[in-house]
Amino acid sequence: MSATVSPIREPLVQGGKSYHDITVDLTRSTEQAPKTTWWVAFLISVSLLLFMVFCIVWTIWHGIGTWNLNRTIGWGWDITNFVWWVGIGHAGTLISAILLLFRQKWRTGVNRAAEAMTIFAVMCAGLFPLIHMGRIWMAMFIFPYPNTRGTLWPNFNSPLLWDVFAISTYFTVSVLFWYAGLVPDFATVRDRATGIRKRIYNFLCFGWTGRAKHWQRWEALSLVLAGIATPLVLSVHTIVSFDFATSVIPGWHTTIFPPYFVAGAIFSGFAMVLTLMLITRKVLGLENYITMGHIESMNKVILATGTIVGVAYLTELFIAWYSGYVYEQFAFFNRALGPYYWSW
């Protein structure tokens, strides 16, 4: 079946690919043995991972005192990393959920990869609040589980507790969404595979046969999950921002934080998606699937959210001045021109 090329807009998949071509192109990397370059990249990643494990063990064995935090600065790179990773994750959800609802067909080209990135980002994000605890071995105290200590519950007033719920919800929904999207893909791989691979993929795709009924239900499920995930795009980072916004620390205690965090999350998340996609499309030869059109669309999102973040920065500074609140002024003046002026 030859591709129909629209005279009005560029096709989402270029190069006049047939369905078969697409299937072959996309499954190629899962069906061939890893190349040398893959092994090199993998080894580098694993080495870094082992180094991280070493650092975490060191921290837990010796205590948070190894980090040079102190009595005024109780949070450092741990919470910074947490916020950053949560933010990164948002791009994936935005692409898969909000763009689905807006019927942005181009999302399909980057959807799966962005979703996967979201899941790993949220896993990273969940890791850091754990490491930063003084007594990680008591981390279960943070969950509201029935216990033998009378009616001892976590403190539902604490934004950190809201974080726990936000992150766990976010992770659950993201995993479901990601997996639901993968089911037809697993089936495609299964159809081409033989032997044990076939059986594994058959299990993973829940016996998908590609019947119209399957597709119909799959579409419905995607829509429902998108509906659930969409508010999460806004709520998760809003809640993360509450960690700071509800505190009394000058420079943190501002109402602009929720929208500013969300915009920043999408901004950095899309940047991360792009960073990964640009490598992927070159290395795996997917230029026809992740096209300049995709990059262009994502650039627009980055530009828009980046502008929002810029305005937020200016607003913060303006409000610090306009409020006449000396503490706020002091904090913002020194954020801009103080001892760490070089860090921005």
Binding site: G63, I64, G65, L69, G74, P129, G134, S247, Y327, L337
Partner: protein
């Protein structure tokens, strides 16, 4: 056919009934037990084990080894079979005793739990200290449990029995042609009697008395001027104008607890309508604790001190001052003299100078002002300094002349403290026999061949007469921990005293009692027997007798003194050596609590820092001498010797001078003392026979790098210092340095926010106006705080209308910043010592810190000290952010910390506006399963207090916190509980006096009041009604339970001309 056999057989051997075969067949089915085999054989070597035995033995060994290795070390807690009368488990017992360290003195109550002294409190019955304490007093209990104590008698570093030591010592004394007992001031009359017996036994003995920091000139001057070689009784409370010439009487000078208490009486604001307070002028170069509390400081260089005193005398006596003195000081002293003259009999001039001529002039000034008999008296004169370094000079001469071959060191470390005394170390090393009655390893003990280790203060019997007519007793609160012996006991044994009953259980106790019976007991005193008298005195701890001391008139030779006044130096830079409040002249350096206590003025702990003057460049920057910055290292050259010292910028330090603490950098001692700070004790100069605590041949390099572990807990925080701008206008220098401009960008801000509602200050004359402002500001804050959905008034009514509502009041006008409360807090609450490195990383653990702020003139600013601890906010920001409810509010208004529940997210610490929450970053206490892992303290990876001996100091009522949890001030919740129980046992209502926090009892000036806000008749309620009160950061709506007062000064602008 063949032979017919009965039965059945299975083989040839069976058939022939082979013996070996039958034995082996029986063994196969029923082998002998291995135990039998071993028992039957001669040894185990030739016992052959078969497979089954092997398996059995192996199985047994493995399981036995496993079971054995699973064994948990058993710590036994033995109950009393017969309970001692004095001990109720879980209930503290208090014994009256005295803290005596050389001339340092404080009457105390020792708190013991289950036989262990764990805390000291001031003795409120004392007329000297009125129940106050000092940081050094609070720290003493830790010295008892120091693992580095000298534990056994030694001769030439070999452990010996006491009998062997005594025999050798006596032999030395008998054969000696000249003996010297080198001792610090002895306060104890009984000890003096013991020394007297020694001298009687060995008449070739002479006593050499010295003090770690010499005040000998005062003694000499009073001897020549009044015929009384004492330090007179200074009544700071009765003086309206107090002038201190370099006398740090609130910090280190002679009797700081007593002086602080008296001084503050004249400084408290009682009535704001007709506010009155004494005026305090300090004439000095370095910012001392006393100077920081003064209203005005007149800056004179250390070498100008004599001239300044002489100038004041000349002006006072109507003449024109003609001694060379800087012009600013001349003008100021002119004005000061006029005021002094109008306050005759109600003024007080003291000087810390060690120049007898200066002290004679000071006496002349006080005499001229008619202060004798009014603000200065001799009847209860202080005996706390009796030493004279000239005796050490004479000792050196005697040794060099060959007249001395035996020296007995009675405590102290003169070889370190007087390292600048020429020839002392060489002379001592040439003495044939040195015998030391030492406590810690130090230079003096190292130089002694015989070391007879002494008891700790808390293991001793004794008495002390710090002031004439005021005696207190000292009693042991624990049996000696090591094989030590009280110094007096040793001297009496060596003197073969007939009055010492060596067979008695406590020989020196009997000796003390006998002495008291002979000398103190008056049969007309109303006591039936001596025993009753002694028991009563021992229980009270203090005893007073009347002294008839006729006031003698001043008869000093003023003309001669004036003529001998030394001229100021022409040098560009002078250095002043000062005694540290925490470690003295090194004698308290072994104490980790005191090392950890930041110096009140520089806010540096663990080391001495060179204080360099700061100036304002008139535009945007504070600039210190030679461009040095906090934590820089610089080369300081004194009289040709170069020391590399860390630097701290110090407001109020006179330009052209620097200051440095003595007593640091000990090369021997315990873990806390060694190598901490820089040793400059050899840098002082002798003038005549006197040691002068300054030097004029000084130069200072520019920065030579940064100190690796700059352990300062607060950088120069100001709250509104003013300085002249380039144009000459006076501007707020803090705000100028904060203003945007190119100069700030590279270096960051230097100044402070002056509009923070942290402290308020006022001049006493404009007090009403300022109180008005304060009230308006508080109303404004209240207005802001009312704009909430959850009005506090309803909350407080619901929550606290019943029961207790604890609160605290800190009178900043009474607080001198001495730091006694911080050490008391560490002792009471088991706060770990973290060491220099952790402090340099701002990971200190002190629950109570004393913040220091400057305001006013940049050259000589005024200072506010603010003890800052958990404010126990009723609307606490920390409480609602904890995800696990580890910190919450009690129904009595306490902000509680549940260590067990804490998971260490540190959110509460982040969200605390007062930054009083402390996180256990590392395992400071070895309280949990982690190894001792405080990284490298003095090269050893051992936390302070990780050993079982030091842990004996822990307060069993307070949890030792594990790694990874937050902790903070609990308002001494254990003491609240104790107070409640006491009231309940007595079946009455609890009153404020039942609960007194550790910081409150430690304070020498009564600055801290704790109590129940709901108790309308209580002390706290009264304190809370003062219009001077304010709440720190009130506009954040934290509803703090701690109120501070506005700081009032009596600064006199006429002295600044």
């Amino acid at each position: 056919m063949g032979t017919k056999v009965e039965g059945i057989w299975i083989g040839e051997k069976d058939l022939t009934a082979d013996e070996a075969f039958i034995a082996s067949a029986q063994e196969e089915m029923n082998p002998p037990s291995i135990v039998d085999t071993i028992a039957d054989s001669d040894g185990v070597e030739d016992v052959a084990a078969n497979r089954r035995d092997f398996l059995k033995i192996m199985g047994f060994s493995i399981s036995a080894a496993t079971v054995a290795s699973c064994n948990i070390p058993v710590k036994r807690a033995m109950p009393y079979v017969v309970k001692p009368d004095a001990i109720v488990p879980g209930v503290a017992t208090y014994y009256a005793s005295s803290f005596v360290d050389g001339g340092d003195y404080c009457p105390i109550l020792v708190k013991t739990r289950d036989g262990r002294p764990i805390k000291v409190e001031g003795n409120v019955l004392s007329d000297i200290t009125k129940g106050g304490t000092s940081a050094r007093t609070q720290g003493m209990v830790l010295g008892l449990y120091d693992v580095n104590r000298l534990k056994r008698p030694t001769i030439d570093d070999e452990q010996v029995e006491w009998s062997a030591l005594d025999a050798q010592a006596k032999q030395i004394f008998q054969n000696s042609k000249g003996i010297r007992i080198v001792t610090r001031t002895i306060l104890s009359p009984t000890a003096k009697k013991a020394v007297g017996e020694f001298v009687a036994k060995y008449p070739q003995t002479q006593i050499t008395t010295y003090d770690p920091v010499s005040s000998a000139a005062i003694l000499t001057a009073n001897e020549t001027d009044f015929g009384d070689r004492v330090i007179p009784d200074y009544h700071f409370d009765k003086a309206e104008i107090i002038v201190g010439f370099d006398a740090d009487f609130l910090g280190t000078w002679i009797s700081p607890i007593e002086y602080s208490n008296r001084y503050i009486k004249g400084r408290k604001i009682k009535d704001i309508k007709h506010a009155k307070m004494s005026k305090h002028v300090q004439v000095e170069a370095q910012m001392s604790l006393t100077g920081s509390n003064a209203d005005n400081r007149i800056l004179v260089r250390p070498s100008e001190q004599p001239a300044a005193v002489a100038y004041l005398y000349q002006v006072l006596t109507g003449g024109a001052g003609n001694t060379p003195l800087n012009e600013k000081a001349q003008n100021a002293i002119d004005a000061l003299a006029r005021q002094l003259l109008s306050a005759k009999g109600k003024s007080l001039v003291v000087s810390g100078s060690n120049d007898a001529n200066v002290q004679t002039l000071v006496n002349a000034i006080n005499s001229e002002l008619g202060n004798y008999g009014k603000t200065i008296t001799f009847d209860h004169a202080s005996l706390q300094r009796q030493g004279d370094e000239r005796e050490l000079v004479k000792l050196v001469a005697d040794i060099n002349a060959g007249a001395v071959d035996t020296v007995v060191f009675h405590g102290g470390d003169p070889l370190f403290e007087y390292a600048s005394l020429p020839g002392l170390a060489e002379a001592i090393s040439s003495v044939t026999n040195c015998i030391s009655l030492g406590y810690f390893a130090n230079r003096t003990n190292a130089a002694s061949s015989i070391v007879a280790p002494v008891h700790h203060n808390l293991e001793c019997w004794g008495d002390a007469e710090p002031k004439r007519g005021m005696i207190s007793l000292m009693q042991p609160t624990i049996a000696p921990l090591f094989d030590t012996r009280q110094a007096e006991h040793s001297l009496l044994v060596w003197a073969e005293s007939p009055t010492l009953d060596t067979e008695a259980e406590q020989p020196y106790f009997e000796y003390l009692k006998t002495t008291w019976e002979e000398e103190r007991f008056d049969s007309n005193s109303g006591f039936l027997s001596f025993q009753r008298f002694f028991d009563k005195t021992l229980q009270d701890g203090v005893y007073k007798y009347s002294v008839d001391k006729p006031e003698s008139a001043f008869s000093g030779n003023v003309g001669q003194a004036l003529g001998r006044i030394s001229a100021p130096s022409e040098s560009d830079l002078e250095i002043q050596f000062t005694e540290s409040i925490a470690v003295g002249n090194g004698q308290f350096a072994d104490n980790p609590w005191l090392q950890e206590m930041p110096d009140p003025v520089t806010r540096c702990a663990w080391g001495n820092y060179l204080a360099v003057p700061v100036d304002f460049d008139g535009v945007k920057r504070f600039k210190a001498l030679n461009g040095l910055e906090d934590g820089d290292l610089a080369d300081l050259t004194i009289n040709g010797t170069t020391y590399r010292v860390p630097v701290i910028q110090q407001f109020g330090q006179m330009p052209g001078t620097v200051a440095l603490h003595m007593g640091y950098g000990r090369d021997m001692g315990s873990m806390a003392a060694q190598g901490i700070g820089v040793n400059v004790n050899d840098a002082m100069t002798m003038s005549g026979d006197r040691l002068h605590y300054f030097a004029t041949d000084v130069s200072l390099s520019r920065s030579k790098g940064k100190e690796k572990e700059f352990s300062c807990v607060q950088y120069f925080d100001t709250m509104g210092v003013t300085a002249p701008e380039k144009t000459g206008d006076i501007i707020n220098a803090d705000e100028a340095t904060l203003a945007p401009g190119y100069g700030n960008i590279a270096k960051g801000y230097q100044g402070s926010l002056t509009k923070r509602s942290i402290i308020r200050h006022a001049h006493v004359d404009e007090l009403e106006q300022k109180v008005d402002d304060l009230i308006h500001e508080r109303e404004h804050h209240e207005g802001l705080n009312q704009e909430t959905l959850y009005p506090y008034s309803r909350y407080v009514e619901e929550k606290y209308s019943q029961g207790h509502h604890w609160g605290m009041h800190v009178d900043l006008n009474s607080c001198t910043g001495c730091g006694a409360c911080t050490v008391a807090c560490m002792a009471e609450n088991n706060i770990p010592v973290v060491g220099k490195k952790q402090i340099s990383r701002h990971q200190e653990m002190a629950w109570l810190r004393i913040d220091r702020y400057y305001y006013g003139d940049i050259e000589s600013p005024n200072v506010v000290y603010q003890p800052m601890m958990c404010q126990h906010c009723d609307n606490a920001p920390c409480e609602n952010v904890c995800p696990v409810n580890a910190t919450n509010h009690s129904s009595e208004g306490l902000n509680q910390m549940t260590y067990n529940r804490c998971i260490g997210t540190r959110y509460c610490a982040n969200n605390c506006p007062y930054k009083v929450r402390r996180f256990n970053w590392l395992d400071y206490t070895t309280a949990d399963i982690f190894p001792a892992n405080q990284v490298k303290v003095n090269g050893e990876e051992v936390p302070f207090g990780a050993d079982n001996l030091t842990r004996m100091v822990l307060n069993p009522d307070v949890t030792v916190r594990s790694r990874g949890v937050i902790e903070k001030c609990s308002f001494c919740v254990q003491r609240i509980q104790q107070g409640k129980l006491a009231a309940k046992t007595e079946g009455r209502r609890l009153v404020d006096a039942d609960v007194r926090t550790a910081c409150q009892t430690a304070c020498p000036t009564g600055a801290i009041t704790f109590g129940d806000q709901n108790d309308k008749d209580g002390e706290l309620h009264k304190a809370f009604t003062s219009p001077l009160n304010m709440i720190v950061l009130e506009e954040t709506n934290t509803r703090s339970s701690v109120q501070y007062t506005m700081k009032v000064n009596n600064r006199d602008v006429s002295l600044e001309a």
